[in-house]
Every structure is written in C-alpha cells, then in structure tokens.
Symmetry: C2
Subunit: 198 residues, 2 copies
DNA sequence: CCTGATCTGTCTGTCTCTGACACTTGTGGC
DNA sequence: GCCACAAGTGTCAGAGACAGACAGATCAGG
C-alpha cells in the first residue's frame, strides 16, 4: 500500500484528497436534502470544481457514497486467505470481517453518516449490494477450496453471500441512531443467527 | 386474483398483453446486443409504440427484464404466512420459494433467457438485488414472529437475507447453459449449504 | 527554463426519465 | 344508436446523469 511516496506520488496524494473531499461534501448534502434532491452540479459547486470533474473522480453519483469497493474487498480476501485452513469456515469469515471493521482508516462518524444515507435510497442500497457481489467473486474461490464433497462452488457461493448479508445487516443496524452495541458485536450476533447449533 | 373478468377488465387484459410484449421484445434485444447497446427508442420501435409509452409501462428500462417485483414478493409472503408455525423456519422458507418456482405462469425458456440477461449487466443485477430488498421487508416480520429470544429483528433479517441469497444463487446457476438440475433441486442444495447439520 | 504528462474546465452530445397537453378510442349509461 | 367519460397514446419540451473532444493550466524532472 504505502511505498514511501512513490516518485510523482504527490499528484496521487492530491487526487486522493480531492476524492475524499468530494465524497465528504456529497454525503453531507445527501444527508440534509436526500440523495435524489441533490444534483451533481450542486455537489460540484459546493466543492468548487466543475461537474465534469466530479464525474471523473466518480463514474456514478452513487459512488460518492459507496467509495472504492475493490480495495476493501481485497483486504477481506487477503484476511481470509491468511486464516488457517483447519479453522471452521464461518469462524474464518467472521474474523476477516472483524479485521475490516477494526481497520484504523475508518472514520466513525463519517462512516455512520454514509451508512445512514446509504440506507435511505433504493438506488444506493442496490449499489451497495453490487459491491457485495464483487466481494463475493473474490471470496468464493477461497471458501470453495476449503470445502469438501459435491457442489463445492454452489455451496461456497451460498455461504459467502449469506455471510455478506450478515455483514450488511450488522452495519445497517449499527448505523441506526439508537444502536449502542459496537459494530463487531452486532456482526457476531447476525452471524449467530445462522448457526443455532453453535 | 381472477374474478371472472371484472367490469372494464378488457382494458386490463390489453394492458397486460402489451406489457408482456414489450418485456419479451426487450429481453430478446438485450440478449442479442447487450443491455447498454439497446435504447428505449429501439425497443419502442420494435414493439410499435412510442418511447413515452414504454416508460409508462415500465418506470425504468431495467424493469422490462425484472418484471413486477411486488407481485411475486407478496406471493412468497402469503405462502410463508400460511405455513404452520411449528415448522422450522428454514423449511418454511424453502417451501415458500419452491411454491414460487413451481408457479405455472412462469415460462421456462423466457425465464432462463431473462435470467441470463439479468446476470450480464451490473445495472440489472443491482435492480434485481433491489427486488430482494423489497421481498426482505415483506418476509422479515413474519420470520421475526416465529423466533424466540433476543434480537429477534436482527436475526430474522439475517435469516431472510441469507435465504434470498440462496434463492438468487440457485436461479443464477439454473440459468447457466450447462445446468441440468431443476431449479427446485438447485434451491434445495443451496439451502443445504447453510445447514451442515440437517 | 523547458518538456511532457496530468489535471481541469468548457462545450457538445446521447440517453433515461418526467410532466403537460391534445387526440383517439373503447366503455357504460341513456 | 348516441353521448359523456375514462383510459391509453403520441408529441413536445425539459431536467439530469454521464461520456467524448479539445484547449488551457499545472507541476514533476531534466
């Protein structure tokens, strides 16, 4: 990830900063006025750039809230791959998601607000689930490797998608105003719902 | 559902027929040329109506493939509600989805083609997941009623979403060209993946 | 200071989707 | 059979998201 600032890395830093700024402003506006009632033009004006530039940073308006799906997905994949192969698959998945939630670069307040906005609009909910499909493609091969018996692929997909659903539910519940539990605790509870025997 | 053709029902019949026709033509075009390479104008021309009318029947282009989510969702909900309350929740959910798959009004070939198109484009996958969210809102209260203990709501959501993931995985696998199993069989297998003990 | 890569703004265009209005066509009452 | 009314449709106009093209600005490295 961080390689002592690659040559010419100054521009990359600036780019990331602008990107983050646009995302922040956009989420704030969505939170105040609703996703559909805010145009890209308004976001651009609030940030101080042209609408065209906003689209250069984010191919779709929804992406200003979702962020970069691939990066975090690979993070989870790497976590899962580094788990011992004897570990029960559900435990390994749970641990991988937990590692993501405990990742330091996540801002608490901003994350919660983004989650709240995310749950407020069908279009955003859908995009978010699309992100999960991307993650699923990364995780399924690893899970399939650790299964035995027939229909490994199909079963692996079911397990991965179910776990992602738990992940999403936990984060959604966490974003609610009255949630006092930590996100990790909620994650464990939702995982537990699928394993009455454990 | 069918009430011997309500007074003024002739128009409703015509409406449904046009609706089905647009959907059929659209799916065919998408299958041939790709979802993004077909404009609403082309679909309208192929059917013989104005583009405005296509949007009157389907609020979004994606809906020509997805169909009417609410209708089928209510179908599943009613099935689930009519299940005996002692039945294990996973069995009840499985039976409800099976009833939907065995519903007579589903055309085999057309359904498979729609499923294939559906998996080919991010925008369509997203809409499909949105449909699942709608279903989840219908099913979760019923499931929550049948649970005991704490965190009923959270656990019900996890169970419902996981089961929907299984449903989706089964249908996706079924749409694959080399799938020989019936959709019901695939559904049972994906359900089984989450219950190693059963 | 110069050169080339990168970023940005502006212009232009396409496509989806919506509202408003007028026109046509069935439906049901008389 | 005729007529008023509702429903469906086409045409027009417009907002908004996004992409391509191009010119100018900016900044790294020689």
């Amino acid at each position: 990830m961080s390689e002592v600032t690659k040559p010419g890395g100054m521009r990359a830093i600036a780019r990331d900063a602008v990107r983050a700024r646009i995302s922040e402003v956009a989420v704030d506006l969505f939170d105040e006025q609703g996703f559909d009632n805010v145009t890209v033009e308004q976001i651009a004006a609030a940030v101080g750039v042209s609408p065209r530039s906003v689209h250069r940073y984010f191919p779709a308006k929804e992406d200003t809230v979702i962020g970069d799906p691939a990066g975090w997905g690979e993070h989870v994949r790497d976590q899962l791959a580094s788990r011992p192969s004897e570990e029960p698959i559900w435990d390994a998945l749970l641990a991988s998601y937990e590692a993501l939630l405990l990742s330091p670069s996540r801002n608490e307040a901003q994350g919660r607000k983004a989650m709240r906005v995310l749950g407020s609009t069908p279009a955003l909910r859908a995009r978010n689930l699309e992100k999960h499909l991307l993650w699923a493609r990364l995780l399924t091969p690893i899970v399939a490797e650790r299964l035995e018996g027939n229909y490994r692929e199909l079963r692996a997909e079911a397990i991965v998608q179910a776990s992602l659903a738990c992940f999403d539910i936990a984060l959604t519940a966490w974003a609610e105003a009255d949630a006092v539990e930590s996100s990790v605790e909620l994650l464990r509870r939702s995982f537990g719902a699928l394993q009455p025997t454990a």
